[in-house]
Amino acid sequence: MKYIQSSVEQVRLLERFSNKSTSGTLHLTATHLIFVESNNTATTAAQEIWILHHHIASVEKLSLTTSGCPLVIQCRNFRVVHFVVQRERDCHDIYSSLLRLLRPVSYDELYAFSYNPKQNEQQREEGWQLIDLGAEFERMGVPCDRWQLTDVNRDYKICETYPRDLYVPITASKPIIVGSSKFRSKGRFPVLTYFYQEKKAAVCRCSQPLSGFSARCLEDESMLQAISKANHNSRFVYVMDTRPKLNAMANRAAGKGYENEDNYSNIRFQFVGIENIHVMRTSLQKLLEVVGSRFLSVNDYLLGLESCGWLRHVKAVVDAAIFLTKAVTVEGASVLVHCSDGWDRTAQVCSLGALLMDPYYRTIKGFMVLIEKDWISFGHKFADRCDQLDGDPKEVSPVFTQFLECVWQLTEQFPQAFEFSEWLLLQIHEHVHSCQYGNFLANNQRRREELQLGDRTHSLWAFLLREQQNYLNPAYCPTYADTHPVLEPSTLPCHFKFWRNMYHQFDRSMHPRQSVLKNVLTLKESNCQLEDTIKDLETRLQKHGISPPTPDPQASPRDQRILPTRPHSLILGAPLSRKEAQRQQEEEEEEEEVGEEVTECCSDTERTVEGSSGTERKESYSDLQGTYGAKAEPAVVSLEFGVARMTC
């Protein structure tokens, strides 16, 4: 590894929720902090932890102890690692290097600009072309006789945080648009984001009006009128202010506020009470504090869940999306959604609503399109919210994380409705913070173009689509969409659960030891392969003029069924990490180089043996052993269940 700047040996990694520790070497590279367990036994592969600098949210050096100098690193993907470095000087070196590395001040320093997977220029470009929002609006049935594409924002002149291409009612003339945009915070005037073709009802989004206590704007009123007129199903249009009423009223003092029903004809105004980014940030912090405490009792856990309010906020967002969905699909009314600036809560509610209304967004590709549309193109401030550059800590907020969690809650309620499993959500979350791909960099499209992200970085979507078999939900039923085109989630609070795999993704001891998801996926995958092999063999036999024998039901598929394992994932069933993927890719390539004529079946089993230290079964159980097994530990009973060793 040529980037290595420094290595420190004999570093101990303390497990977060037990008294166990492993020792190894800590390497610091230009992009990663890497911990490699010094391998004591040959049977298990050495554990490696790779932490991308961008993922590190904070580094803390605790006071010196007898065993060394503790270094606690908290990551944005909710990984918390606790190292103990023997010498204080080494600890200080790492600490200060990290501090320097994890506060990039310009975009050029971000990993995306140096990240270089084995890809040629053409593949990279194709990656960026995978998602086409113009085509997406066409899929919805726009432009049509009531909605059209407008070029007012071609040069980001009207609103620099909006995309270039915007869709507005045909009757909304340019002066109306310009007037309306002047009356809206940050110029974010009402535009179409989702079109429900069946009822020709529209979901539009904007920012709060600059109404203050009494100001009004005729163009803005005409704009809403135009939206209303574009829908013949309903005489009125809903205006959903996603803020709590109190917050909206307070904004009036600053010359902003909300729509006055008296000024706008045919609107129905509604507050839905989602709290602001600061409340959400504090709430998640509290949640993490609660679940991060080491000896947590069940009661404290439940009380903590309650008092941090996180699930209450998650439910508020889902409730708002349900309200939106009902208005559109049941009443056939158009809805205008806004909050303050229309890029946080508005993005959450619009995208979740669309997810409930349209089965397309519940597919892997569709979900990417949805994020691209409602979050990336409409200017959710990823750079600020995810703290990509050293910026204002008050701007940081887990709004997008919360959206992903809402989606997860829905996947839990409708296990058959989504093509993807939670791994897609976790992987997206990982990369929103990794700054490894260009998609989520910067705050809006205009800035992204200035940075020439399309030319200088890679697209996450291409990467995810390439390995999409890892993200499939085995319970997905494509015909579910026919019977349930619109999802109607339950709003009962008992359906909102703590998302352990997100907030404890890296806490090994917390997870089930065996994964149904992984097992079923493996079964499915190997079944397909076996079928291919059978076909292949049959055709070969036929070539030789032999009719295929009837399959022997006794022939156990056990060994063949086993696929390469993913030994380093902390949660069983986790998709391959990038590094593993690379390694596997390299192995495959090596095999290709050998170029022997082996049947597909054979090469597959061989790879199984090479790719891991044993069969899948052994691996997953050695995993059990590794955590609890008698060998790995000193013969002391003192662990999870807390007996003191008997000394006599």
Partner: protein, 527 residues
Amino acid sequence: MEFSEHIKTANVEDVVLRRPFHPPMQGTLCVTGHHLLFSNRDGDSSRLVLLLLRNIDAIEKRPSVSSGTITLKCKDLCVLQLDIPGMEECLNIARSIEYLSSLDIVSDMYPFFYRPLKLSLQDQWGLSSPEQNYAQMEELQDRWRLSHVNKDYSVCPSYPPAVIVPHSIDDETLVKVAKFRQGGRFPVLCYYHRKNGMVIMRSSQPLTGANRKRCREDELLLQAVIDGSGLGYIIDTRSNQQAQQARMTGGGFESKSSYSCWKRLHRQLERGKVLQESLIKLVEACGDHSHSVDRWLSKLENSKWLSHVHTALATAGLLAECVERDGHSVLVHGSEGTDATLLVSSLAQLILDPNTRTLDGFLGLLEREWLLAGHPFQHRCAHSAYSHARLRLEAPVFVLLLDCVWQLARQFPLAMGFSEPLLLRLAREVYASDYGTFLCNSDQERCAAGVKERTHCLFQFLLKPSEREHYSNPLYEPTELAIWPSIQPQSLQLWRGLFLRWTQHAVHLEKAQEELRNLVIECRGAS
């Protein structure tokens, strides 16, 4: 039938039945000695709903002038509603249900009348006997023997006729030990750990009383257990304080001075009324349709149910850890040794012993550790969470066991040979059943009532090929290793399948589970 005197109105027409997941149905309601029958003839198709009266936990009636509504809250947590035309009919039916659903004479209960065509009373009752269990474990036979001291149930009424005890302890000694243990439940072997020859024993509390009585024979017996390894643990399922207090009422614990080679560990498991109230609160919380997350979480917390799950799993983990990792034998008891004791010992066996994780093995474990070991099912499961009756001896210990097993199966989805539907089925059958398995409080009572001759055995039925398939886990891959559960609160979950079974959205989850199951079976079948 003698029940007829309690049935004033046997048939009512034009009754409307409302139940979860189904549109309201209009039809004829009929009350029999053991069932509510509801049939509706809708055109050509006729549908029949059959409800075992024993399943009804609480009945609420709202009569009005010309009709009435009866709400039936069942022990399987389902809530039904009947709209009955005619006030008198409504009251009559309600009265019949109230009486017939709370019969407490065992021989009047439905299992004695259930005669399905496919089953014969000549079939074997039960899965295995203590003799067979003993015969199967050859490794232990040089140090342990099968004692028939209790063959007429005179030494311990709640024990089976044969139990396994140390070889060196004769029956005479056992009789004396029994007098020193509450209810005569002297220490017996319940699990032998093949890997290191350590054992799990269980008993009731010693009757040391306020003046610290001792019993030589009891001390001898325990000494014989650890003979060789030299040390043992006693896991007392009460807190230290509770154990101290028990001395005032004649009970007590093994003191350090008398049992010098045994180390006591106290882990407080709730039992009895506290547990029943916990279940009642939990079910109430699950039925609360308010939309506030805070309220839900605070009610869930307030029910303490998950804390009980946590404590049970943690104590079982501790027990298993003592045996497997520390290599010591363990005696577990609380006060009576018929509730928390059995809970902990059977969970520890599931953690340690792969044989108890198969479908047959699990039912065998339940038979050994719950039915033969004398868990008083009839007392504990007389009423469930909805009942308005005054609590007497009810406690959902067995439901708690099933919940803990479910948690284990969630964490090790491949390690168990049985599936969630089995646990759900058992949770239902234990309160109201066609089968005689869970009747009575002990083996002795079961024999006296003729349960084994005159009723069918649930476990035998569940192992019939047709049922077996439904209750097996298609993902099952046996492992010889111990399955150590994570007991972090974040790793424990509310058992939706049981407690939220009847909420609107359970259907989606059930369908998806079924789908996955079919998929796995299909894949495995194909390959």
